[in-house]
Symmetry: C2
Subunit: 455 residues, 2 copies
């Protein structure tokens, strides 16, 4: 019997994180971390579902949900095996919908919606294979991997043949690196001390704890007031000593000239990288900044819209560190393309994470990168924020500054049903009760209804 | 009495244009031209409303409507005079909403939604001033104009002071050019002959008609099959003779290498420009193509997401012709920024139009460019497609190959109430009746209810 996709259910889930200024930075003073969440079911009778989401920071999460729902027609009724076995073609069926494409093309709300659906399908495929996603990807042949990638608009920088060659070169060491990964995990760095809304005392305390916890890199938010930034970076440096790396993150606050000036003020405190100095769209601006502040490293990527902009950032020499995000570009397939581009240009990939479930997702991509693409963990770290993991069925485990490799089948994308219910916007208890307790542990586990898109 | 914005009503309007392959091109084979439409009302008692819209090509128009509705909270209840008198600050209040910004930033669905709302406010402001928008803008002082522009991320290419200087230089000739514009209009070119779905016979017939109608430039869609393109371009050239300009438009179909090869095949037939040879995101790709095919001109812009990408296209020498779109970047304000950038770099602006109401809107911007920014019409043309104008209250008038300058107050953005009702998706008569007549003239005029966002 052929199995078909039979359900497509969305959830607008929002956490009131703005109450404590968790996640505050120079561009985003009061985010309410949110997920536009989708669950895809089948009639296979195996009880397995695919879960995926786009991450937003509050208002507009409903728009993101609407965009995900616009894709339901491309999923419902389709042959499950055929769709999951050829994820390259499935990806194209979303991205190449000519009418939906007009809403981007390949950027913003519509592209993030594709991310949610594509990642949900990968979650399902990995569950059916009985493997965590990183391991599923790491067992695929070079031919199978390049078949996931849309090389349109990339061939002036990376052809299918070059990508194949690159994957074949790293194939022999896969088993050894897989074993090493399972033994020692993947390096993490923490942003928890560095939110802009935190006091100096809290910054110092959390930086000290981070080092005690085994992190060898932390990150501070900067970009609002230069004197504050100098003071906070100096404090952090004095706290962690010279050997712990301190990245700083300006969250797009500067123009090119501002960035160069500001970074020169921070340089004496040895920042490991400066992240998002200006608009994520400004390939040439990043290149100009990087030339002017060398040898200070420039990092960007969490808001980079697609593989085409990443290609140019690499071509123009705009960055030292490439930061993928698991849910902004169009899901696993496009991130495989970006990992291949980075490997071709020899630039380390250090993913953005945090938010809601971004750590859970993106750890898989870095682990796959280590085992099957870049083949090294040197100067590679995945961002870690100790935040909202309790809402996930298979939360990340970070120990002694490293992500432990997940072994549960899937993409670690699944949010607890009680969370989907309690934090549903605007009708969940968290949002209806002005005085609702934020302790979800007290909320009984029930099935979350969500909004089911009619088949 | 202070007037406030008191209503914010959206409409999902779709035309079944795919039935006749009108608007078909290599990327968009079957568009249903659509508008995500908004009407903003006040309690001023003057009966005036602001109308604006984003243009889409069918599926996803509901997502676009949802994004427009996400902005209602920034409009409803606000002081009308204060908002309209300082459109620079009003624009920033939409673009800098930190939570909504995450959905872009400044690109795609959310940015197009801002366009609809910003343009609706300009429509209202122009109506209140009793002037067509082009004239309202052309009467503003250089200081007032630069106050509309967000120079963030632009200052490495254009500062406020440079923009001021540029506007001051063209100030003396404004009155003369305004009179000239009212006398002779603004040059148009027509894409009507060139849709990819049309037969050779229809192409020849429509090209001949275009020349007879006084057009000195036409445009053909290309990019699906090179032999077809060569044949169609040769046919068109034979039909119109050597003196009529023929632009060709690939609608993003090529990679860099493909573009260079394909254009070399078309070059013998003297294309006036080659439009959208590759992804609108590929600044460096356009620059590489332009270098390789010179002196063939490269044009792009209808899908360029914002001023930051236009800045780079100019910095990198990626284009000979800059094509703004009235409703993709964030409305009038951002297009003023782009006109200023183009003037700084000495690149002519030849807007994209067609779709639903894009001709109606963008004519105002080119006329303003002529009177107050670039100060010339040389090598400037506005696209014209003879399509769907009958649905507008103040449709464009194109005579002898030129747009007549509108004199009715406003932004010419207003769709007829009967059209809003008849083409409402999915509940309008056009979509509910399988055999509904497409002749809207037979539909009685009534007020369109739309979806009113609660205040």
């Amino acid at each position: 019997m052929m199995a078909r996709f039979t359900s497509f259910t969305t959830h607008d889930v929002r956490f009131p994180t703005s109450r404590d200024l968790d996640g505050s930075d120079a561009m985003n003073p009061d985010p309410d971390y949110s997920a536009a969440y989708v669950v895809i079911g089948t009639d296979a009778g195996d009880g397995l579902e695919g879960h995926g989401f786009a991450f937003t920071i509050g208002r507009g999460n409903d728009v993101q949900v609407a965009a995900i729902e616009a894709l339901a027609g491309h999923v419902l009724g389709r042959d499950v095996d055929a769709a999951l076995d050829d994820m390259g073609a499935t990806w194209k069926s979303f991205v190449d919908d000519s009418q939906l494409r007009w809403l981007g093309p390949e950027k913003g709300v519509m592209h993030m919606a594709i991310s949610a659906v594509v990642n949900a399908l990968w979650d399902l495929r990995a569950k059916r294979a009985g493997l965590p996603l990183w391991d599923l990807l790491s067992r695929m042949s070079p031919e199978e991997l390049v078949a996931l990638v849309d090389f349109r608009y990339l061939t002036d920088a990376l052809t299918r043949e070059e990508a194949l060659e690159l994957l074949r070169r790293s194939e022999p060491g896969r088993a050894e690196r897989r074993a090493e990964l399972l033994r020692t995990g993947f390096p993490a760095y923490t942003t928890s001390p560095g939110w802009l809304g935190y006091s100096d005392d809290k910054l110092v305390r959390l930086a000290r704890e981070a080092v005690a916890d085994g992190f060898t890199q932390i990150k501070l938010k900067v970009g609002a007031h230069v004197e504050d930034d100098v003071r906070r970076l100096e404090l952090a440096r004095a706290t962690v000593g010279p050997d712990v790396r301190i990245a700083v993150d300006a969250n797009q606050r500067w123009d090119v000239g501002d960035a160069v000036e500001w970074i020169s003020r921070l340089a004496p405190f040895d920042p490991w990288w400066v992240e998002e100095p200006t608009s994520p769209d400004d390939v040439l601006g990043h290149a100009a900044i990087r030339r002017a502040v060398a040898p200070v490293k420039i990092a960007t990527g969490e808001h980079v819209q697609n593989r085409i902009v990443f290609k140019q950032l690499l071509q123009a020499g705009s960055l030292d560190v490439l930061q993928i995000d698991a849910a902004r570009v169009a899901g696993v397939n496009e991130n495989v393309a970006i990992l291949l581009l980075a490997a071709k240009f020899g630039v380390p990939v250090c993913p953005h994470a945090g938010g809601v479930g971004l750590c859970e997702l993106v750890q898989h991509l870095s682990m796959f990168d280590f085992v099957a693409v870049a083949g090294t963990r040197e100067d590679r770290v995945v961002e870690y924020v100790d935040h909202l993991h309790e809402h996930f069925v298979d939360p990340v485990v970070v120990e002694r500054g490293a992500y432990r490799a997940p072994t549960t089948p899937g993409f670690s994308a699944q949010i607890l049903p009680r969370t989907l219910r309690h934090f549903a916007f605007p009708d969940g208890a968290e949002w209806t009760a002005a005085t609702a307790a934020t302790d979800t542990a007290a909320v009984p586990i029930t099935t979350a209804p969500g909004r089911q898109v009619p088949a």
